[in-house]
Symmetry: D2
Subunit: 332 residues, 4 copies
């Protein structure tokens, strides 16, 4: 790809850094948590989802994160290993933290999600855990923003991004902003600003860019101006997602385009961002153009939200291609 | 009953103080958490279990505790209200705590239980929440020991016990000791000692009495000596449970007896203590003898462990009576 | 003494449990902290003050507490050892706590006191530190209430009181209530109630007894009723101090009397309670009557507040006797 | 000055951000803390020292920081106001924090310093407190590194540096590294790296640059290489201090020189860095050359360490000039 340069001959297409946890999906659809009979169990967490997405498409992927030394920690690790994800960067914490768990209703909208993250294991990731030799094995480092929300994970994340830059690994930031995990938007914007400037590619939606501009351009809603600002530093590609309206893509070299969405009936409102990022990076690291990458990202997102979980609904390469073909035929 | 005196004309048979939370039971039996497909959802927590047990048997029961201001908090409250449990003493905490959740395998032994209790809502109970007028409405106050494990719940619990004594409400302590929630056994023994001395009835197993004697009689394994020590203060009845071997019951007036268990094939190793306490107090507050109460407790425990959840497997009066009749016929 | 029984042949007259720290007194009298040139340095803290008071009068005294592993910790220990105070129960904490420091103006009233107690060393005292063999060496254990204000010092204090009772050591509670160190008065009253019931002698002022009665008799201002309530349990002597009005003393055996104060011009408003307690216990453990003890306590308090520090202004036996003689002559 | 550009017409020469607290100096020199009779009281703290240094030389200076709502907080504010320091950026915290206090022996070396910083007020500074309009009033923003050691002060500091850059205020980082306040050197280096890159001028000693290079060039002791690295980003001037050996100064434009020290007999080992920074920035903002600035800094440092406090020993312009003249005559 012209805009960013992936090092040849690296063992891994991507290392994803951030949260791997347990997703518990309401067994009955369109039913309140109080009224369901139980939950189906899956591995989840933004970073784990992205790793699985790349892996499912045939990419080789590694992981940096932390889980608890308990049954859920072992489950998450076992599942990821079984998929073939490299876990050399996975830390097991036994200080009393707990693997993150998300309980979710299965509704297309107004979906109640209950998150158990008091003393979450993923945020115990430490700088000691970050090895330049590991980062050097991969073409990209994909960071999900939740990893920035608390120390010591925050420092570990920034260190990983710095190391990645030094060893020629392309850095991708998936903003993934959860307001409740931060003291104020302003505090968040400081670390996101630092992280964005350490990234070659920044992916977020309009609300997330609003947060990142809360100090420097409060109230701005203009994507062009936003992209301009973020491309002034080290960032080479800015992708601003706008839900139903698709995505706007801006490159440092002036190249710019829009991509619509693959419209489907959603079963759940989450997982789309993670599958988008996963398919995007898989495409780019396999020689695809930025346009193909964003298109594949959108298709993968559509496939994912029509499935019943995040990790398990990630498409294979065949499923992705079939989906796009069918969709295009139907559109004619 | 001769040994303790229940006030006549009280609206409630019991108020239970402690933990109400969510139990998530492995859908597949005899399978590791990592390998199950999901969880069945129930209301649980020692105190909630006891409240449901009494309610199911036909008793009138109230509750003092705290849940989070979220879907699980609403679920727990909704379920308890639906059963007919009075929730005037239930606090809703919105400081960031989370309703306690227990994930459990379904195995008769070596059963992995994963507890999410970092910043647990039940331990946010405060002295402000404890009303003598509420305690005065009940014949008994049943305290589960977990409520003593941290401030401010610890102070609220001790205050409730003091108020209860002052308004003539019989106080019952179900020891329910979880070592991991305490700094040391010695620290635990201090508060359990204070609580036991505020209680008319103390129920625990041998290991729990060992902890309570860790300072005053380290190493003692003699039930008679233990009972002697605990009956010297204000306590009138001491019940020492010994699993398969049944229970030993000691009264301040010298009365003393043993009660065997109702042997059944267990599906899970928990819930027995809570059903025992519930049936015991229900029997006593409905005019039964201590012998009947302990027998009913043992039967209820047997019924509960052969069921697939704690709250839902609590027997009704009819089920309890049928079970005992059948068991006795089979024994002949 | 008739009311309490001191064991003969014990090495120490008293062990004092609680806070030993540094007192920094404004160098210039009647001047705001902002305007003084500096501070004079003394050892202080309620428990240390009481220990020094007994020691200065010729009593043999030990100490249970904790200081930091730093220059102030070493200073406090060095000073106390030099006085001849036994420090077998002194713990040195190196977890990052700091020895308590109090900065005070030198004014008879409206005296600003600035206390540095964030992560205070004395509150790191642990149950592991409490040895029955040490407590058995002493006729009395004197507990200052601050030690109850936080865990793990709270548990260590309650354990020491329990051990003391078991080995025949007379237990004295000097209430020493600091509202800011407690969540609410009600929470405080719970632990003070437990501690009072473990004490043979309880010493406090009217406001402190108000706090202790906040649940059981809110609004009560009647000393007779208060004493009645506290003498119902294990407590044998209740001393209610009323500043300028002197003290009221109540015994379980019905004996009761009042003691006026020795009126002097005060240089500072603190230290009086600690010298009172010290002289009282010294007198009692040396065969004095309760009347003599309270009189000596009042005289020691008068001497102390007319001095320029707490520890250094504690009177020797000769100073105490001379003061009383002179005072009585002047009164005639 | 050629290397950095100070905006004309600004009301203040500098705003200093960081710690203002109380310094308590041992009254007797060459004596251990345990053995001194008391302490002399001064305002201190790196940032306050620098502000006073500039003010004493005749500069106009403002302050951003936080003190407690108590006698020491009022003392610090009163003193600074009296000097004529603008306190529009000073926050008063009443959440239970305490103004930082440092107790120090008066020895030229092996000087024990005891710091009370558990829940220190200065570290409660928040982003809400940082106003671009205030920063715009000043030619420079001087940040002392301690302000980066914990949240929320860390975020407030980074935000102030970002705002300053945007409004054309020259940013100066005085590294001021205290290892004990950080989890690891690596964690510290991440934030110092970010801060250095936001700074026009970075001042530190060799050990401090070692910490900042702990990830990027571990083990490097070569000042030239260090300066090279730090001048690659936005930084325009790097000053590496080497104690007795003087300072090495490196500019982005290639200009480079060394400056020896003004050798004097020190009474205390602290205060030199703060007076150096203060005199340096005062000289630069008053039209002096970088060489004059570093020379004035060294002279001010020499004057300060031969005095008996930090703030009070800061020289006036006359004292500084007289000192340099006399020193040069003596050297001939």
């Amino acid at each position: 790809m012209a805009q960013v340069n992936f090092k040849e001959g690296r063992e891994l297409d991507a290392i994803v850094l951030g949260r791997a946890g347990v997703d518990l999906y309401a067994r009955e659809a369109n039913t309140d948590i109080a009224d369901i009979s139980g939950f189906d169990k899956y591995v989840g967490g933004s970073a784990a989802n992205i790793a699985v997405a790349i892996n499912r498409l045939g990419g080789s992927v590694g992981f940096i994160g932390a889980v608890a030394d308990d049954a859920f920690g072992r489950y998450v690790q076992g599942y990821m290993e079984q998929q073939g994800i490299n876990l050399d960067g996975m830390m097991v914490d036994n200080s009393g933290s707990r693997t993150s768990v998300a309980f979710t209703e299965m509704k297309a909208s107004d979906c109640d999600v209950l998150i158990y993250r008091n003393n979450a294991s993923d945020l115990t990731l430490k700088t000691e855990q970050i090895k330049p030799t590991y980062l050097q094995k991969s073409k990209t480092l994909i960071v999900t923003g939740t990893a920035l929300s608390a120390s010591p994970s925050r420092e570990a994340t920034l260190l990983a991004m710095q190391h990645a830059r030094r060893v020629g690994t392309v850095v991708v930031l998936d903003v993934d902003y959860r307001p409740k995990t931060w003291r104020t938007d302003v505090d968040a914007s400081i670390y996101y600003g630092i992280a964005a400037n350490l990234s070659d590619i920044v992916i977020g939606n309009r609300e997330e860019f609003d947060m990142m501009e809360t100090v420097i351009a409060p109230g701005n809603q203009n994507d062009d101006e936003t992209a301009d600002r973020f491309l002034k530093g080290q960032t080479k590609i800015v992708i601003i997602k706008a839900g139903e309206l698709g995505s706007r893509v801006y490159c440092k070299d002036g190249h710019q385009f829009e991509q619509g969405i693959y419209k489907v009936k959603a079963k759940k409102p989450f997982g789309s961002g993670d599958s988008f990022a996963g398919a995007l990076i898989w495409t780019l690291t396999h020689g695809g153009s930025l346009e193909q990458a964003v298109s594949n990202g959108s298709a993968a997102a559509a496939i994912n939200v029509s499935g019943t979980s995040c990790t398990e609904a990630m498409p294979s390469r065949e499923e992705l291609e079939t989906f796009i073909t069918k969709f295009e035929q139907a559109e004619r």
